[in-house]
Symmetry: none
Subunit: 246 residues, 2 copies
Amino acid sequence: MNFQRRKQKILDQLNSTGEVDIKKLAAELNISEITSRRDLNQLANDGLLYRTHGGAMKVDPLAKPHDFVNKSAQNSTVKDDICRKAAEHIIDGDIIFMDCGSTVFRLCQFIKNKKIKVITNSLPVIYELQNSAVSINIIGGELNSERQAVHGKMANEHISKYRAGKAFLGVDGISENGLFANSELEAEITQAYINQSTYTYVLCDAGKIGNETYLKFADINQVEAIITNAGDDKLDRFKDTALTIL
Amino acid sequence: MNFQRRKQKILDQLNSTGEVDIKKLAAELNISEITSRRDLNQLANDGLLYRTHGGAMKVDPLAKPHDFVNKSAQNSTVKDDICRKAAEHIIDGDIIFMDCGSTVFRLCQFIKNKKIKVITNSLPVIYELQNSAVSINIIGGELNSERQAVHGKMANEHISKYRAGKAFLGVDGISENGLFANSELEAEITQAYINQSTYTYVLCDAGKIGNETYLKFADINQVEAIITNAGDDKLDRFKDTALTIL
DNA sequence: TCAATTATGATTATTTTTGAACAAATAAGC
DNA sequence: GCTTATTTGTTCAAAAATAATCATAATTGA
């Protein structure tokens, strides 16, 4: 029994039982304990298992935290309504920013056939638009795998090199006092998009309006329009602002 | 019993039992051990089996039990062999560049469990590594949808802001005269990676060696090592270079 | 036929693999 | 806290497999 074959057996057992024991392994494979220990060390070195005292464990099955598609299915008709309205403001030749919220993501389906350039930091947006009429620019930097988007200093710098006519942004909250986010990283990105676009649309469902959550990152007069499904009662609060409501 | 006939028998046995043993092989085929060893080495050189101490195994079963996308089955075992070798040079804590060739893509499966940072302009690499132990940095810029990779001026600038210990690159051709590419855009990106990495590995199968195609974009002494399955006959041409051959 | 190439085998040195012994580090029990 | 048992890392040696070298047999092509 050579190492390669043992390696297979060890990984097989690890896959089914989740852990292996040095002593048992030595007995089962008919090798000395030190050899089985060496096997495990080598496999651990290749990142194929976690070494423990007296044995080894499976590597974390990589808990998939965030399924973007599922999240984006929630409230889909409301979001789709908002996005359909937003798409009416996008015409061939436009250069637009799209950020990484689940609402903005749903805008993709309505712009696939438009001859526009999309600049985005959102991986789902990129996937969705990949084989379409849209030309894509990707914001570079550190990938936040949970949010499936690029964030951080490098991303902000990168955005500042682009300039677009329109930006389509999602927020976690909005009121007459400004825009709010749950995450500092996303707030910075959104702010960067605002700075570099001529006209900024905020896409938000009724639940976001009046929700002054965690971090205020921009004044309300920094954006030009909101696109929403909210009724007039909720939108009253914006009557003293220059905001266009769509 | 000539070599062709033995070769067939060896492969038959390998297919049915999954492994062969030098001693048994010598006895069964009535040849010396050294001859059966030579047979196995030749077959291994052709990528038809995986050589082990004392025998050989089928090529496939060594691949990780993990999911892996078998996109281009062509030459996949050869490419996997190359990538397996490459992965041995990547250790936890490394920061590496990966470019956008199909060979380099296959490296993903072997590094999923490593705690490293990957900087890449290749969308397939990003997808493949997205929910893994690997931390990802995306090179920003214009997406070339045909190649599923980011290219262009912005991408080159972006790369120049990073610095990595190792780069793993694919080429369309390589010889003692330098590195060759079929595309100007890819050549620029590859050159940028070379400039910003301390140690550069070129992954190439035997077919790429001596292929002086279209565009020469770098001298051979700009890279430190090539990882290949090619035999010594093909590698002779590098004997006057400082190249490390792995 | 004869030289040249190729395939095979034998010999030796080198490398790889494995196991044993023992000190150091770690976990477990009191 | 302390002691004890287990596990581990290190060093060394033996065994197996391999690579390298050379010699011999088979095959090829003029």
